[in-house]
């Protein structure tokens, strides 16, 4: 087992990892930028090393500083958390060369799953359903129409070099295709200097449902059910829950087994998440695989009674997965509390917390690094707390969520607590019938 783990992260996840390390009797090293001198993860780690000035690129993303900090403190493993260097293949490789165990996948694995086209191809070859699409670039309108009929309308034309919605056109029927094809090509040519486009089936009203997997070095891969993360604002998740109100036990088994198939196909070790899009007909399609622990992991922990960080560390140390999946117990919802002002376009609200009261009681978990009189620095993401509730069923969890959000008091900065309370009044959310477009039409206030 590791003697000392350096946590290459900050905020709530750094604290989360430190907590599990302490329970395992492993010493901890925190790294921090000058802006995080007063941060809680620095206080609770056994040792702390200042690695740079506030900007992330000069501190939390600066590989030499982090490796050097591990060397001077004698750490034998590094946990990257999520974000920052967690899926940086270069970092994984440098750790390996420096004889420090990276608690995450190898650089080859990160590269493989990071290449979206390759990942999709690999999954498809192993029997994992993927979003049907053209085999490569579409050269003419006629070719496009032919492929669209094979896939089935509606389709979406996408730019090969694209992103940010540019060069995308949804086509509902054949007669619209030629015009959409031409305008998409023109748009992508001017945006990216490349007019190559391809076609995918357009999934209507998709839900984002992901499966948590764990693999060890003995070839065992397990799944711990799903998380429904459809409540998103600009592709940022805000509320996550398990079980998903959209699926039943049968679909869960199918998705779970498919996820295991995909993970085994790449000999996956450690904690990972396979993201699927679920369409309104309950078909699911592979979207991508995240080779790290996710922000929303606590909802799975609560319902499946598993410490996922602990499993990550055990597996990295060459042990078998200790906690096997069981039948999920109850319903869990996580609310991401950000230091943002929902009444003003969710603009960031850093500053000093003048008054703080965390909610408590039965079925409540708070993962947070904030404390009263703490000043939130403006350099990093705005997540200040994850509020996780458990209930016997979804209704119960929602009622508890309401109680807990009302009890949670933060003064001195703006937070998204009022926004979450508003969501809990919304008919669509309460019914469980919503998809990733939910917040597009949601009016706060």
């Amino acid at each position: 087992m590791f003697n000392k783990i350096l946590i290459a992260n900050r905020g709530e996840i750094a604290l989360r990892i430190i907590r599990t390390c302490k329970e395992l009797g492993i010493k901890t090293v925190a790294v921090y930028s000058e802006a995080d001198r007063d941060s809680l993860h620095v206080t609770f780690a056994d040792e702390a090393v200042c690695i740079g000035p506030p900007p992330s690129k000069d501190s939390y993303l600066k590989i030499p500083s982090i490796i050097s900090a591990a060397q001077v403190t004698g750490a034998d493993a590094i946990h990257p958390g999520y974000g920052f260097l967690a899926e940086n293949a270069n970092f994984s490789e440098i750790c390996q060369e420096s004889k420090i165990k990276f608690i995450g996948p190898s650089s080859q694995m990160i590269n493989a799953m990071g290449d979206k086209a390759y990942a999709k191809d690999t999954m498809k070859k192993n029997g994992v359903p993927v979003i049907p699409g053209s085999n490569g670039i579409i050269k003419s309108g006629d070719e496009g129409i032919k492929v669209s009929h094979e896939i089935g309308f509606p389709v979406i034309i996408k730019a090969s070099a694209g992103g940010g919605g540019k060069g995308m056109r949804i086509v509902w029927e054949e007669k619209e295709f030629e015009k959409a094809f031409q305008t998409a090509k023109t748009e992508t040519e001017s945006a990216f200097g490349n007019s190559d486009v391809y076609i995918e089936k357009f999934i209507e009203n998709p839900r984002h449902v992901e499966i948590q997997v764990l693999g060890d070095s003995f070839g065992n891969v397990y799944h711990y059910g799903e998380r429904d993360c459809s409540v998103q604002r600009r592709h940022q998740k805000l509320i996550e829950e398990t079980p998903s109100p959209a699926i039943d036990a049968e679909i869960r088994n199918k998705m779970g087994e498919t996820a295991i198939l995909g993970a085994k196909a790449v000999n996956y070790e450690g904690a990972g998440t396979i993201e699927f899009l679920l369409d309104k007909y309950k078909n699911f399609y592979f979207m991508e695989m995240n080779t790290r622990i996710q922000v929303e992991h606590p909802v799975t922990e609560v319902v499946y009674e598993v410490d996922l960080i602990r499993q990550q560390i055990l597996v990295a140390a060459g042990r078998k997965v200790e906690t096997l999946p069981k039948k999920p117990s109850g319903h869990s919802i996580e609310f991401r509390i950000n230091a943002e002002d929902p009444e003003n376009g969710f603009r960031p609200s850093p500053g000093k917390i003048t008054s703080l009261h965390f909610p408590g009681g039965f079925g409540v978990r708070v993962d947070s690094h904030i404390y009263q009189s703490y000043t939130i620095p403006p350099y990093y993401d705005s997540l200040i707390a994850k509020l996780i509730v458990w209930g016997k069923n979804r209704q119960h969890a929602i009622a508890r969520g309401r109680r807990v959000l009302e009890e949670f008091t933060v003064e001195g900065i703006k937070t998204t607590i009022p926004f979450h309370l508003k969501v809990l009044e919304d008919e669509r959310f309460l019914s469980g019938n919503f998809d990733t477009s939910f917040l597009d039409n949601f009016v706060f206030k």
């Binding site: 000058e34 001198r37 007063d38 809680l40 206080t43 609770f44 090393v49 200042c50 690695i51 740079g52 000035p53 501190s59 030499p64 500083s65 490796i67 050097s68 900090a69 060397q71 001077v72 403190t73 420096s98 404390y371 009263q372 009189s373 703490y374």
Partner: protein
């Protein structure tokens, strides 16, 4: 130095709410500080905020601190059996190599950016240093 006196003072600090105690009396000065435990979150926050400007108070007029630009291990000499780059009292000028900070097997030479005399060497040979940690105090000429 009266060891019994110091023991008494330590006990006083330990068993009270006092966090810092300084006593001076005819050439004898002692300062005792108590570290607050982490679980008292409010005191920690306030205590750490007092220390927010790490080594600024130490700097007197016309002195200049050389700080480490990287995380690594501090070495006074280019090799284990070689002479130190500088000693207290040595004169240095901009570009003079003062020490090595080793990181990931790379030896980084740290240079002075001022002219002056080495007043103090703030880190022991072979000890780890963090970003911006003060290494040398130079009396600027």
């Amino acid at each position: 130095m009266d060891l019994n006196l110091i023991k008494k003072l330590v006990r006083i600090v330990d068993t009270s709410d006092i966090t810092d105690l300084e006593v001076e009396e005819s050439g004898f000065r002692v300062k005792i500080a108590k570290k607050i435990r982490a679980f008292q979150t409010a005191p920690v926050a306030e205590k750490v905020q007092e220390e927010k400007l790490p080594s600024k108070p130490e700097v007197q007029e016309n002195t200049h601190e050389i700080r480490s630009p990287i995380v690594g291990t501090f070495y006074r000499a280019p090799a284990p059996d070689a002479d130190s780059y500088v000693n207290v009292g040595d004169t240095v000028s901009p570009g003079s190599v003062l020490c090595i900070v080793e990181a990931m097997k790379l030896m980084n030479e740290i240079e002075s950016d001022v002219s002056g005399k080495i007043l103090k060497i703030l880190v022991e040979n072979g000890k780890p240093v963090e970003y911006n940690q003060p290494l040398f105090l130079i009396q600027v000429s």
